[in-house]
């Protein structure tokens, strides 16, 4: 528990924390609407920057909830690390599966492209003519 703070201070801390989380959420929603706005269509850089900011703010929110509301900041370091370090495994999962998804899209596009190719037709196609296959029956 937060015995390092007086009761009044920790109560005030809760409302301040709530205000902070609400503000961050509002900024996130604002950025999200901004990047979907019509004038943003031609500004790809704006979409990337806004998306990265939104992701960063969400991670900050997660950090704040874990360290303040869940009191992880006041636990011993070993506990915090034994819970938080395993989540680093997810970084590789993110990289691997997002790449995998991208590869699925590319192979799907390739299949669609190949599907629409027209097979050549007519007598000129192919090295072996149809007659070459036919065996003549013995008379």
């Amino acid at each position: 528990m937060a015995q390092h703070l007086s009761y009044e201070d920790s109560v005030r801390g809760v409302w301040k924390g709530l205000g902070l989380l609400a503000l961050v959420t509002l900024v996130e929603v604002g950025l999200s609407l901004l990047k979907a706005a019509e004038f943003a269509e031609d500004l790809r850089i704006l979409i990337y920057v806004a998306s990265l900011l939104i992701i960063g703010l969400s991670i900050y929110k997660a950090y704040f909830i874990i360290y303040e509301f869940m009191h992880m900041g006041y636990e011993v370091k070993g506990l915090a690390m034994s819970v938080l370090l395993p989540t680093l495994l997810l970084i590789w999962a993110l990289i691997a599966f997002f790449n995998e998804g991208d590869a699925w899209r590319k192979s799907r596009e390739k299949v669609i492209y190949k599907d629409q190719l027209q097979a050549p037709t007519g007598g000129e196609v192919g090295l072996i003519k149809r007659d070459d296959f036919l065996l003549e029956l013995p008379a």
Binding site: V14, A22, S32, V76, L79, W104
Partner: protein, 348 residues
């Protein structure tokens, strides 16, 4: 204020085992915390991996799709018709932001309950936990409305996703005559396919229903019409037998400057609106449903501990309402997961 204990279970003095047969293994607690709290942390870690698995599969499937519904377009409705007060009748992300606030505030009231518990203030614990329960129930109610609206009004299900997104530019065909109009198809824009004959759905579609076609009524019989197609079994035996009669408008392709594109024979390239990626509906209902299930479970456990706290169970334990602290950890985790569900489904 509390005496040092290895467990929050009370054992009467004469019932205490003589040997140290609990598994505390000594006076010093691992990580200087109780068994219950430590195990709650590890449970939450495992649950975080479950959610991470779901959200990463969402990411992989989204990356694998040529297009993805734009959340501002999909989540633009608010109960009581409040969205009608916004331009085009669309209130993007407003309702879901409200839902987020409910969960964040209930997280704050939960911290207050834990603080009052540390002071052994029973009334305070009960009051703040009650507010937390109300926040949780409010969130669940909002989610129920959101789901009902998506399923009943907008016809999105686990296997049908009427929210498609254009991957090219062009112009719509007039639904009645099949002539090319100046109504634009814009790359990256999300549209909602409507059911034929669903009168109230016709107005909700935004850009599809502007101008002169307001007096035009789409046919309800499945078939191929000049400017649109209606799904379902057709009179001549073609079409999909069990398909709902969704209206798909036709359009011709154009380049970014608005010049019509033609194929090798010199004809306009005509396309029909498609369904959006099927995975969207399955992922949305699966993941927000799993989160909602966590909220519902959390509300039930909050109520149990609330009743226990009110009944004085934790007064006797004299451990600073540690049970409230443990359910608090779980409740904050539910809020934490929502941060990421909100991020991937609604913000990005």
């Amino acid at each position: 204020m509390t005496e040092e204990r290895d467990t929050d279970i009370l054992i009467a003095e004469d019932q205490k085992p003589e040997l140290n047969s609990d598994w505390s293994g000594g006076d010093r607690k691992p990580f200087r915390t109780s068994y219950g709290k430590l195990m709650m942390w590890y449970f939450l870690l495992s649950d975080a991996f479950t959610f991470a698995g779901f959200l990463i599969s969402y990411g992989a499937l989204r990356f694998s799709s040529a297009s993805w519904p734009v959340p501002d377009k999909v989540f633009a409705t608010v109960p009581f018709g409040i969205n009608e007060m916004f331009p085009n009748g669309e209130a993007p992300l407003i309702f879901v932001t409200f839902m987020s606030f409910l969960l964040i505030v209930s997280s704050g009231t939960m911290v207050r309950a834990v603080q009052e518990g540390a002071r052994e203030n029973k009334r305070g614990v009960v009051f703040w936990m009650l507010l937390t329960v109300l926040g949780g129930l409010g969130f669940l109610g909002c989610q129920a409305w959101e789901w009902t609206n998506l399923i009943a009004t907008e016809n999105m299900t686990v296997t049908t996703n009427p929210f498609g997104t254009y991957v090219e530019n062009g112009y719509y065909l007039d639904p009645e005559t099949g002539e090319i109009t100046d109504e634009e198809v814009v790359e990256g824009e999300t549209y909602l396919l409507h059911l034929a004959g669903a009168a109230h759905g016709e107005e909700a579609g935004g850009e599809e229903h502007e101008g002169d076609e307001e007096h035009f009524a789409y046919a309800t019989e499945p078939g191929d019409y000049p400017g649109y197609v209606v799904d379902g079994p057709r009179a001549d035996g073609t079409g999909t037998a069990d398909a709902k009669p969704f209206i798909h408008r036709k359009y011709v392709l154009a380049d970014e400057e608005g010049n019509l594109l033609t194929d090798e024979a010199g004809n306009n390239i005509q396309l029909t609106q498609e369904f959006g990626p099927v995975a969207f509906g399955a992922l949305f209902f699966g993941i927000t449903g799993f989160h909602g299930f966590h909220v519902a479970t959390g509300v039930i456990f909050l109520l149990i501990i609330l009743i226990n706290a009110g009944g004085g169970v934790y007064v006797a334990r004299q451990n600073g309402y540690e049970m409230v602290e443990k359910i608090g950890l779980y409740w904050h985790f539910v809020d934490l997961v929502w941060v990421f569900v909100f991020l991937v489904f609604y913000l990005l």
